[in-house]
Amino acid sequence: MDILYKIFIDPFVQMGTAPDLLVQTLWDGLVAGVLYALIALGFVLIFKASGVFNFAQGIMVVFAALTLVGLHEHGVPAFVALGLTVLVMLVLAVGVERLMLRPLVNQSSIILFMATFGLTYFLIGAGQIVFGGSPKVMIASDLFLPSGAIEFKGLGGFVSLQKIDIAAVIIASVMVGVLAVFFQRTRIGRALRAVADSHQAALSVGISLEQIWVIVWFAAGVVAIATGILWGARSEVSFALQIIALKALPVLVLGGLTSIPGAIVGGLIIGIGEKLGEFYWGPLLGGGIENWLAYVIALGVLVFRPQGLFGEKIIERI
């Protein structure tokens, strides 16, 4: 009885009696969720246009952040370093298309997926060889990102919002908006969507498949830079971030692999769900459930909806 009380009643009582803590937890979850969504967005871009489930997206985030900070360490001014990082991501996109996607064309999707594990390891190794393995500090202030916190009194206590988190939410929302417009309104965007339906359609718009691959990988790289800056500014820049980046995977399967709104909603569900779970139910299990809750939530959803929350129902043909 006691345990049932602790699971089903007590957490809600706590939420009611200390609303400030609840709001604080929700906010933390929201910020984490927005960042997950941003990584997931990179996945969706690539998956939609090339059918590749890019496991390396999380590492691309770390790699981008590391490049940016590493260049700055070598005396390159912040915004020049940012420009160079964009260039590096372009080179990466071209390299991936030439050296990985082209030779693997027509392979089954699971093989392509595994190939991106190779890319992941390559980026981890190469990134460390070039920029060193020790954690670095994001050059947030050089990029005019705010620091410090705003505190609100009320709700029987106070809620504190980090300014960088507010910036993260704003920047992420803007990026999502821009990408949505890009997909819906521009010629290239429409071609990208066409490619998702049929490669023939894309060719008829006059864009080759190869070009499209480069474009989406580059777009995903730019999203990775933004994610890397924001995330790096909240903690530090190191390959330990990859474990957090992996969380984008459950976000993705929750939202469905092809849906941008899905990625966002999935990110929020996972972000808020795991923070609430950790704060209110975690202590019952000794804490640390944040590490697996996201995956278990995704697993639970998949069992009932194998196509994710937003994916279209797949009727297999034979």
């Binding site: 050296l99 990985m100 190939a115 190779g118 190794g125 190469a126 590490n291 278990v296 697993l299």
Partner: protein, 358 residues
């Protein structure tokens, strides 16, 4: 007359279905076993046994386990590390509770526990496929890792939070624990790996192996020829996790002599997966090649420059390994999805017709 003809058919098909139908292959196998069981124990010193052979064999077993699931049945798992961990912790608990039972029995029995856990996490595989399933196995990986850290009962409440391997003897000879010699441990590991490889080869060459490969290649058609998908997939999860569990138990009890939960983290899952990919998906020989390449690569990267008087920093070795392994994965997937095992076959084929090019 009729009887004889029946007998003829039987022997000829049975011979045709033998796993090594070619004489040279059988001789080669015998030679390898001789070297492994006799020559290496005679000439091998601690470095060779402890740093090369024992880990190589243990990784091979884990790779075979994962290969049964991913290479043969087509179910991609990222939970190998977790399943190996289940074996290690189960073995610790078993030998703690029943200290007088032969430790080798517990090493094998611990595989049953990972098999059970594997089946549990394999249940969703009926509905979930491809990378969705891979993500689902991540749930197993992270959940199990968490259990290893947060449930003190599992590591006998040791202060360090690590597994401390107790001394266990077999007929008076120490087998596990600090006083066990590397030779004893090597021979036990070798025997287990040889027997389990033989069993795996029996499975994949028979009805069950066909069932698995049918599920891998076209699951819908498999169901239409009367294969029960859930059963086939769960059996693959069970057998695969059994192998991984035994590998995990051996890793801690017969190699490290003690380990923290970190050993069974996701990196381990990837390492074993890479062995499978590079060695060759769906070939058992490949698992040996893959384990050799991935495990021995860093040793070579470290030792060769050191021998040339250019010592390389350990972290550089690790980073270089990452880069090389990453590139190898892409290269093999693109050019030779059947991995090193396929290259080996092509090499043998060339030898067979040598010296004539065709």
């Amino acid at each position: 007359m009729l009887y004889r003809e029946v007998g003829q058919y039987k022997t000829s098909y049975a011979a045709d279905m033998a796993i090594f139908p070619i004489l040279q292959d059988r001789i080669g196998l015998a030679a390898i076993l001789l070297i492994a069981f006799v020559v290496i124990p005679l000439v091998g010193h601690d470095f060779l046994l402890n740093t090369v052979m024992i880990p190589f064999l243990i990784f091979t077993l884990a790779a075979i386990g994962l290969n049964l699931l991913t290479g043969y049945t087509g179910l991609l798992s990222l939970g190998t590390g977790g399943f190996m961990g289940v074996g290690a912790y189960a073995c610790l608990k078993l030998t703690t509770i029943f200290p007088h039972v032969n430790i080798v029995i517990w090493v094998l029995a611990s595989g049953l526990f990972s098999a059970a856990v594997g089946v549990l996490f394999g249940l969703p595989s009926l509905r979930i496929k491809g990378f969705y399933l891979a993500v689902a196995t991540l749930a197993a990986q992270f959940f199990l890792e968490w259990c290893f850290i947060r449930i003190p009962w599992l590591y006998n409440y040791s202060v360090s939070g690590a597994i401390e391997v107790p001394l266990r003897t077999l007929m008076g000879i120490p087998v596990t624990g600090p006083t066990a010699t590397s030779l004893t441990r090597y021979l036990i590991v070798l025997s287990i790996v040889v027997v389990m490889t033989w069993v795996a080869s029996n499975l994949v060459h028979g009805r069950i192996g066909r069932t698995w490969m049918a599920v891998r290649d076209m699951d819908l058609a498999a169901e239409l020829v009367g294969i029960r998908l859930l059963r086939a997939k769960l059996l693959a999860f069970a057998v695969s996790s059994f192998y991984c569990g035994v590998a995990g138990a051996m890793m801690v009890f017969l190699w490290y002599g003690g380990a923290e939960a970190e050993v069974f983290a996701i990196d381990q899952s990837f390492l074993v997966l890479f062995m499978v990919i590079i060695g060759g998906l769906g070939t058992l020989t490949g698992s040996f090649f893959g384990a050799a390449l991935i495990y021995i690569l860093p040793i070579v990267l470290r030792e060769i420059p050191a021998a040339l008087g250019l010592p390389v920093h350990p972290s550089t070795v690790e980073q270089l390994t990452f880069v090389i392994v990453g590139v190898l994965i892409i290269v093999f997937l693109a050019l030779e999805p059947n991995g090193l095992a396929r290259l080996w076959q092509i090499g043998k084929q060339k030898l067979r017709v040598w010296p004539f090019p065709y």
